[in-house]
Symmetry: none
Subunit: 416 residues, 2 copies
Amino acid sequence: MLAEIITIGDEILIGQITDTNSGWLGQQLSQLGIRVIHRASVSDQKDHIQKALLDAAQRASLVILTGGLGPTKDDVTKHTLAEYFNSNLIENKEVLQWVTEIFTKRQLPMLEENRKQALVPANCEVLFNRSGTAPGMWFDEAGVVYVSMPGVPFEMKTIFHEQVIPKLKARFVLPVIIHRTLQTIGIGESFLAKKMEAWEDALPDYIKLAYLPAVGAVRLRLSAYGTNEKQSAGEIQEHIDALYQLVGEYIYAEGEVSLPEAIGKLLTQNKQTLATAESCTGGYLAHLITSVPGSSAYYQGSVLAYANFVKTQELGVAKKTIETHGAVSEACVKQMAEGIRKKLKTDYALATSGIAGPDGGTTEKPVGTVWIALATPSETITKIYHMGDNRERTIQRTTLTALDLLRRIILKLPVI
Amino acid sequence: MLAEIITIGDEILIGQITDTNSGWLGQQLSQLGIRVIHRASVSDQKDHIQKALLDAAQRASLVILTGGLGPTKDDVTKHTLAEYFNSNLIENKEVLQWVTEIFTKRQLPMLEENRKQALVPANCEVLFNRSGTAPGMWFDEAGVVYVSMPGVPFEMKTIFHEQVIPKLKARFVLPVIIHRTLQTIGIGESFLAKKMEAWEDALPDYIKLAYLPAVGAVRLRLSAYGTNEKQSAGEIQEHIDALYQLVGEYIYAEGEVSLPEAIGKLLTQNKQTLATAESCTGGYLAHLITSVPGSSAYYQGSVLAYANFVKTQELGVAKKTIETHGAVSEACVKQMAEGIRKKLKTDYALATSGIAGPDGGTTEKPVGTVWIALATPSETITKIYHMGDNRERTIQRTTLTALDLLRRIILKLPVI
């Protein structure tokens, strides 16, 4: 079962936007047991798109297109597809209704351009786009399935998950592949690999392991290839059980669960509350915590004390502490955590203070120096870290490290 | 002058590594006035690479390959190129000497695999790789130039800058392409397009326009194709001047500038300060503001009042206001903005309060209802918005809308 991915748009070719859709689709298709053999990015011109479609249909039985489905004039994909299939564009009632609903809800006038979004080639099945106005399309012609989706990543992902995967499973005979994803935090890829070395070497041929690193975290994906779903599931479980013995303390969740979600679950279970006091993370810690739906059940709020006077005025940090030790110090971050915990009357409080850079570093405290504190009902834990000299990554790493500290304390794991 | 980029490697197709080379090369080539009309990613198989080369040579006069030049067994690019050109592999003395030197310096034994790196097709010109052991290659055959480089980004970039650019300038008469990017905020793609319709219709053939939408914002890219740089720059400027007459109030910057950066610049110029009080945006507003290096010069801090008691206790919102009107109300958000402005003694203060969802909506205040307030030295402006029912996007849109409100007030533009 071979597939090809085509992305449409000059903005990709000239490197103005990065094509993340192709990689994501490649991962998704691999997990379904579908092999991607070719990827193409073409300009917004009809003849280029047509040539790419013809070539793809010779190589693959599944052709996935993204991009070129917006409401403006540089949208050509739909017209090209209609021509390619010797079809014509017709207005789809369901799509029109959906687009109208969206505009009504947002209390915006609907323009002719928006109405045109309901036009689709007559020979397609519409793939409902819950996240936007441009519909996805499914064509099944001469033994080849073509799927066209808008290029906006979250719209494309929603359509793929909700509409395309079920239809692919129904249309093609796909191999049995069982995937399990383990989310780890607090250990780098190479250190993790070293701890898992003997375990990994003992994996049978039909079970594959992939390390999927991101900033501050590593996902492990185990894939078992077989013919019997139950047997594969049992075997993969045995290997995962063994893996927990080795690196269990770093695994915070299974499946597509974020660290703030996992922590939200723990706090909800324990009926405990959380507050934060941020300096160098600048609101990113609060943002990750509140990105979880329902977080208001355990998260009370935060003081972002970016200026030093806010640390003393709002969090009760002693002026003398800042004068003597500076804002990036153990004493300051401890008082920040204890100050916000007392103020918002929570069980836990996390605080961060560091030098995100690019400016503000000294020989003693170089850029990337970060203090994190966690105030609990019984004690306040403080730790210093060195996060490197990239501002964005320092903010991300500090935030994840703070959340992992909280996770370890809640679960009574050793602090690292 | 047309170019095509081919990347080689299964790891790209299955999305295990992200192809950043193609985008980077697209940018570089555009700046040289070379138009990329196609990108392909192919697997490590000879026949796939050969097919891609043949196709590319029909479309473009410059074909750039990256990947598949490592010392391990999955390297096939060199053999494929030799076959494609009916050439054979010969040992290149300079490359062998360079590879030997590297291993001597690192005090590592040289393996047979490493010696093989000095093998190149007889018909190529070697492109010296100062950053690694795999050489780049330049072929000039039947009117088409082929450039092959290793896939490791920093090696590829070094070879491209030091070797390829000078050779391209010598080999081709390059046209002039001028790109200009305008960042807009506060207007949807279709509404923007409507306002620009007559202007867009009047663009000459050699000036192209692209809409590049993201959540809550649209970038406009104008590209002028010509032969005379000064003339093209002048013409594109005339069209941009005309565009400013039409939609100038929505354009917050030119080039690759984010909205928080643009606002940071305005505040710095005016020597003014900012604070925030967030509820539904959950820290994301603070995060975007503090993601700008140097933001501590104008941004003092924030109270994230997620729980209602924090709104009354920390921001001075009257209990009665919340009891009577709810936390998502004009009166509440106004008091939040005024409360934090007074507390942190800033010129401006932004506040957000809304229902991000998925829960918490009512018939009167459905999910997506958001109040934003901006307190200034002279007045407090409040506005209600309906942001739709996706939590993540409501947070993003509310944040950008709040920042745009501030931009409009600073610039004395009408509030929308």
